[in-house]
């Protein structure tokens, strides 16, 4: 064995405050989530796709010299070419311009519906879950009853009363759409409200709104965010579906749903009229779904160290 110098056996002065040091850099929960999200290749691909789609929705319509609503009866049903990148429809309108114009409406409807769902759902579910007991029973039964009404019947009724339009469309989607969010939030709040940090806030004298907005909702944010991301594509899909049934936004406005609906009628002769809107519906729904899944994985506490 090697000889060890004697002075090595002198008592060392141990700085005990050193023992409380945390060597790792400070990471907030959301920073942590973003690191994990960025490691998920598929989710990142989805995110890039979404950014591209939004970019095109904003700038796409300005990239051509055509307008979304101007008819050009000399050039109807032209296949894709250098002149018309995605071809034209039966009124000679440029499909490229209309696709990106439609993207605006589809994305807007999706986003608006999801945000309204979020607002009502969080409030409704939050109050039901936090109050509990009788309040919870009554509020959730109301949601159940609304959920049980045949959806299409409700939508058609709304269309008849309010007339077709963007606003009606969004209203139709949110009238039952928030229920899903409310259920998720209620479940989260029920689970979180017995956590000791909520009890601690109560013993400190915190009032309901403080507990709600400082403690419960921030901690339920993960599932809320995932539900939100996944409800956007479902709203976009519902819009397409309603448009397909002829309940979509009125002409000459274009959404992907109305374009696809018109395209289907000419599928055998002019397939590009269906191909482009359908492709972008699929891409958008796909992108939102993988981003939502990626978020869920990134938020999953079981993977946290």
């Amino acid at each position: 064995m090697q000889q060890l110098p004697k002075e090595m056996f002198q008592p060392a002065s141990v700085d005990l405050s050193e023992a409380e040091k945390i060597s790792k850099p400070s990471l907030s929960f959301w920073k942590d989530v973003s690191i994990r999200f960025r490691k998920n290749k598929l989710a990142m691909f989805g995110l890039v796709l979404l950014i591209l789609l939004v970019f095109m929705a904003i700038f796409g319509p300005h990239m051509t010299k055509y307008d979304y609503s101007t008819n050009d009866l000399m050039n109807t049903n032209k296949p894709p070419s250098a002149e018309h990148w995605f071809g034209t429809d039966d009124l000679g309108r440029d499909i490229f311009t209309r696709t990106w114009y439609g993207a605006r409406i589809s994305l807007f409807i999706g986003l608006a519906a999801a945000l309204i769902d979020l607002f009502i759902g969080v409030l409704w579910g939050g109050i039901a879950g936090f109050r509990g007991g009788r309040t919870d029973d009554v509020m959730m039964r109301i949601a159940d009853i609304l959920w049980a009404v045949p959806y299409l019947l409700l939508v058609i009724l709304l269309m008849v009363v309010l007339g077709q339009g963007l606003g009606t469309m969004i209203l139709a989607m949110t009238i039952t759409g928030w229920i899903n969010m409310a259920r998720i939030v209620r479940g989260q709040v029920l689970q979180l409200k017995s956590q000791e940090y909520v009890l601690a806030a109560q013993t400190l004298g915190a009032n309901t709104s403080r507990i709600m907005f400082k403690h419960l909702i921030p901690n339920a944010m993960g599932p809320i965010l995932v539900t939100l991301t996944l409800s956007i594509p479902s709203a976009i899909f519902t819009e397409a579906f309603l448009s397909y049934l002829g309940l979509g936004v009125p002409q000459p406005l274009a959404s992907w749903g109305t374009m696809a609906s018109e395209g289907v009628q000419a599928l055998q002769y002019y397939p590009w009229r269906l191909f482009f809107p359908a492709t972008f519906i699929c891409l958008t729904i796909f992108a939102f779904n993988v981003v939502g899944d990626g978020l869920r994985d990134a938020l999953d506490p079981r993977l946290r160290k």
């Binding site: 400070s26 929960f29 009890l199 806030a201």
Partner: protein, 312 residues
């Protein structure tokens, strides 16, 4: 203690929880005791005996089914204006069991500790607020660098100390510690217990210390109450309870604690408690009676005479 002043009086406290079909769980079933100013009262018992429920009912997290809790002579559960209630909440605080669940993971340590300061408006400026937070961090042996970090970056013992700092922020007189060390490692338990004792000395705090680890309870407590199925079966000074346990349940509990000493463990003999051993008659009234000065036991009239003859 020459002059003992009652800080908390608990009178025939009952807490029943409905479990459906008209049935109730009697989590706390008629408990009466006092806590004196500046003392530590230990509350021990096994899971489901109602010790945590007692603590939570005292602080008002649950509405008591019946009975009274007086703090400095004022009823805790009586109707009050929100201002009075807020004042009362400042006086009583709680330290929780689970160092992982008791701190909001989305808040920084500074915001967690300052929560009480914010609620009660105890700091006029941002600087004053942060100054208080730094002071509190130092009081519990942490430092100001920790203020902007999040709970998940700390170890269990450090988190428990953050929980203590949060409770101290509103300058309470009385702290209920609900199993504050049972989730911690042995080497860390002593840190927290030492800190609690130091704070008691410096600030004259009164503790209700709820735990199932009897050796720690004995170390920290002046008096100890033993609970069994919602009832307090024995209450005495810590040393007295360990030397002269009277109630058979207390005896069984004490005989079951494994000690860190192989030789006593080799010869350990356990006594087993069987509730039927009392042979109580149908409807025989049980009362909490004083056997020797300051030593109370839940017993029947006959047992009282027997204990009295045996122990005094």
């Amino acid at each position: 203690m020459a002059e003992k002043q009652k800080l908390i009086e608990i009178k025939n406290l009952k807490q029943y929880f409905p479990v459906g079909h008209g049935q109730v769980i009697k989590a706390v079933d008629g408990v009466t005791f006092d806590i004196y100013k500046g003392e530590t009262l230990g509350l021990v018992g096994e899971s489901g005996c109602g010790k945590s429920t007692t603590g939570r009912t005292i602080i008002g997290l649950y509405q008591a089914t019946s009975g009274e809790v007086l703090f400095n002579g004022v009823s805790v559960h009586a109707k009050k204006t929100s201002q009075e209630l807020k004042q009362l909440k400042r006086k009583m605080q709680m330290i929780f069991q689970d160092p992982y669940a008791s701190l909001n993971p989305r808040m920084t340590v500074a915001d967690i500790i300052a929560e009480g300061i914010d609620i009660h408006g105890l700091a006029k400026t941002k600087e004053e607020r942060m100054k208080r937070v730094y002071e509190l961090l130092e009081t519990v042996g942490l430092n100001r660098e920790h203020a902007n970090r999040y709970p998940h970056e700390f170890s269990g013992g450090q988190r428990q100390r953050i929980g203590i700092a949060r409770a101290l922020a509103v300058e309470p007189e009385f702290i209920i510690a609900d199993e504050p060390i049972s989730a911690l490692d042995v080497s860390i338990q002593a840190q927290v217990v030492n800190l609690m004792k130091k704070l008691q000395r410096e600030k004259g705090l009164t503790y209700l210390f709820i735990a199932h680890d009897l050796s720690m309870v004995k170390y920290i407590s002046d008096r100890i109450g033993v609970m069994y199925f919602g009832k307090m079966v024995e209450l005495a000074e810590a040393e007295e309870l360990y030397r002269n346990p009277i109630h058979p349940y207390t005896k069984a509990l004490l005989s079951a604690i494994p000690l860190p000493d192989p030789e006593t463990e080799r010869v350990r003999r356990r006594t087993v408690y069987d509730p039927s051993q009392h042979n109580y008659k149908e409807g025989e009234p049980l009362e909490f009676r004083e056997i020797t000065p300051g030593h109370f036991v839940l017993c029947s009239e006959d047992e009282y005479k027997k204990y009295k003859a045996m122990y005094s």
